[in-house]
């Protein structure tokens, strides 16, 4: 457990994690679960879209390269839906090529995280992103 973060940091948070890689999906969900979040998983964009529409989570963390519907298709659909405009959507990808981050932000993602993830890097980056968003920062149990 990260020393300065409380175990119930994300208590009461519905978070949807979308990744076609089972291991990646599990790493992310175990970490988020460890901080008290209600984690909902999906293995592609299409499935993720359905989960998001039924759960209406505060936060979505999605991979970009996926079968059926990839992260680019997902963000397009989500940004068309005005009822979901307050949902924070963070891209999580192993794409580390120059320009990927910029492209993700331009496509409508609120932020961008690069794999590989460790508990430390993932949580540090995630908390910083959430703290920078006033209406979500208030909901963190710090």
């Amino acid at each position: 457990m990260m020393q300065n973060l409380p175990g119930d940091l994300l208590a009461g948070w519905d978070i949807v994690v979308i990744d076609d890689e089972e291991d990646s999906l599990e790493v992310a969900s175990v970490i988020l679960d460890a901080y008290g979040a209600n984690v909902h998983c999906a293995s592609d964009g299409k499935e993720g879209l359905e989960v998001i529409r039924s759960i209406r989570p505060r936060l979505v963390i999605s991979d970009l390269s996926m079968p059926v519907m990839d992260g680019w298709g997902l963000i397009y659909e989500l940004r068309q839906d005005t009822t979901l405009h307050s949902t924070q959507i963070i891209a999580l990808t192993a794409h580390a090529m120059p320009g990927d981050a910029q492209r993700a932000l331009e496509s409508g993602f609120n932020n961008y995280l690069t794999k590989p993830l460790t508990v430390e890097t993932f949580m540090e980056n995630l908390v910083n992103l959430l703290l920078a968003t006033p209406m979500l920062a208030d909901l963190l149990n710090i």
């Binding site: 790493v27 175990v30 090529m97 794999k115 590989p116």
Partner: protein, 558 residues
């Protein structure tokens, strides 16, 4: 034909001569005797003779007699320059020096009686006129009178000639005398002209008339010859013009690109030769042209082939480049994905998440997993760097950075590593280094950290040193150690990919064998060099020399 042309020429010459003589008959000739000083005559003519001259169509002949030809020439030049208006009327002019006393009339003896009389009148006029003038001068100078015929005396007195301010009585008399002579001359002239005009038959015996007749005869013959020639030409024109027209047509068709055309060579003589030469020329030009178009076609074909080949090669190169980029992106993604799982689960275990049982053994194994996964990640990153440099996709930044500050950061990092390995660490930063250098901070750091990492790795005891130096237009990153050193034979290949000094050191020290290759490739990409000095068992010194690129001075408008 030649006869016709000759007749034509003679005819033309005859006509010209005829009309010239007609002209001569209407002209006014002035014959000047040598008994009058030339400059006096000329000066007189300049002023008063104009009226006389105006009565004739033109001044045809000016004969000045005298002993000194050069003097006459010089005076004539003066006269000509001063009297351009008068001379505009002078169509024929001759200066003929005569012996003193020689009568001017003898010179024109062949001319008919009318002309003869005219000359006499002219002589009388000039004599009288010049004498009168001379006398007036003498009067003005000495107030003494001179006889009108004392022209010889005047010759010696001409040097004192000045324009008289007052005309004395004697001069007025002479002026009257002159006017009389002048009137006489003019009437003589009128008579001559009217006689010439009305009674031309009267001059049958005159040489001018005879010459006119001769000329007319020649002209007549010439005219007849011309008519004959023209008739001959008209008759012969068909024979001459037809092949010429045909040849012109052939030439025009050839010009328009009808190369089947050839001149008709059936004509005999010169025209046949011309036609044959024309055809030979056409054949030669045509065969040259065919050779050229063949050569041109071959060249065009080759150019098209080469263009196709180049285009194909370019497409292949582009496709290769695209595949390479795609491969790099895919590999980066594919290698990071499993690493993501390894690192992720390792960190989960270390953080006791997901209900992990954690004890001392678990901790040790997790350490090993983490170390290896970092090594694997390093290998992937190195490999991607090499690929980027080699495929020309390495994009170097051009941002300002402080080399001194960068040096301190490297020193912190390397100092920590050295400390862990029980080594001493020293850093020296040249104060003469520029505050700011433009370049790729990240790439430079990659070089320095690689060299520093190696130095710590290959040194068991002693020191690792980092020095940043300014060296002219360059700056240097110098990394020294007191490590195992590099044997001379290995210095040639240590910068090659996947090469280490030997397999033993590879097993002993680990590493990907890509570090120095990246250092060298990156340094070269930045326009720099890497050199190594080493002594086995005593240590190595790597020197990276990079050009100093300074920031553009900020302009006032920026």
């Amino acid at each position: 034909m030649i006869g016709g042309v000759t007749a034509l020429l003679i005819g033309i010459i005859g006509l010209v001569a005829f009309f010239s003589l007609q002209q001569f008959n209407r002209s006014f000739s002035v014959m000047i005797d040598n008994t009058v000083p030339t400059d006096q005559v000329l000066r007189t003519l300049r002023g008063d003779a104009q009226d006389i001259l105006a009565s004739a169509d033109q001044l045809a002949l000016l004969i000045v007699s005298g002993t000194d030809t050069d003097q006459i020439d010089g005076e004539y030049e003066d006269f000509k320059n001063a009297e351009s208006n008068l001379l505009a009327d002078v169509q024929q002019l001759a200066i003929i020096p005569l012996a003193p006393g020689e009568p001017a009339s003898e010179l024109v003896a062949p001319v008919g009686a009318g002309v003869q009389r005219l000359i006499s009148a002219a002589n009388a006029f000039v004599d009288g006129f010049a004498t009168a003038h001379l006398l007036s001068l003498t009067d003005a100078g000495a107030s003494s009178s001179a006889s009108p015929d004392n022209s010889t005396a005047g010759a010696s007195a001409d040097s004192s000639a000045e324009t008289p301010s007052v005309l004395p009585q004697s001069l007025r008399d002479l002026q009257l005398n002159f006017e009389q002579v002048e009137t006489e001359f003019l009437s003589e002239l009128d008579e001559f002209v009217s006689v010439e005009a009305d009674e031309s038959l009267q001059f049958q015996t005159d040489s001018v008339a005879a010459l006119q007749n001769a000329i007319l005869a020649i002209f007549g013959v010439a005219a007849v010859s011309l008519v004959v020639s023209i008739l001959g030409a008209v008759v012969g024109s068909r024979q001459i013009s037809r092949p010429i027209v045909a040849l012109i047509e052939v030439a025009q068709k050839l010009t328009r690109g009808d190369y089947s055309q050839r001149a008709d060579v059936s004509s005999f003589g010169e025209f046949g030769t011309l036609s044959r030469a024309f055809n030979t020329m056409t054949d030669t030009v045509l065969s040259r042209q065919q050779e050229l178009s063949q050569l041109n076609a071959t060249l065009e074909k080759r150019v098209r082939e080469r263009t196709r080949e180049a285009e194909a090669a370019r497409r292949v190169a582009e496709e290769n480049n695209r595949l390479k980029s795609e491969f790099l992106a895919t590999m980066s993604h594919e290698l990071r994905t499993p690493l993501n799982a390894i690192e992720g689960f390792t960190s989960i275990i270390r953080n006791h998440m997901g209900g992990t049982e954690y004890n001392a053994s678990t901790a040790r194994y997790v350490d090993r997993i983490e170390a290896n996964s970092k090594r694997l990640l390093q290998l992937i990153n190195d490999f991607l760097d090499i690929s980027r440099i080699e495929s020309g996709r390495l994009q170097l930044a051009h941002s300002p950075f402080s080399p001194t500050e960068l040096g301190r950061r490297w020193a912190d990092l390397a100092g920590g590593l050295a400390e862990k390995s029980g080594l001493g660490f020293e850093v020296s930063l040249d104060p003469s280094l520029p505050e700011s250098i433009v370049g790729d901070e990240e790439a430079v750091s990659k070089i320095a950290i690689n060299l520093l990492g190696n130095a710590v790795k290959f040194t068991e005891k002693g020191n690792v040193e980092l020095a940043l130096k300014a060296s002219g237009d360059n700056w240097q990153i110098v990394v020294s150690d007191t490590g195992i050193g590099i044997p001379p034979h290995a210095r040639e290949f240590i910068f090659d990919e996947f090469r280490q000094v030997d397999q033993t050191s590879k097993r002993k020290f680990g590493g990907t064998g890509l570090g120095l290759a990246i250092v060298q490739k990156m340094a070269r990409a930045m326009g720099g060099t890497v050199t190594v000095e080493s002594e086995v068992g005593h240590g190595s010194t790597f020197t990276v020399t990079l050009p100093i690129v300074l920031e553009e001075p900020i302009t006032a408008s920026a």
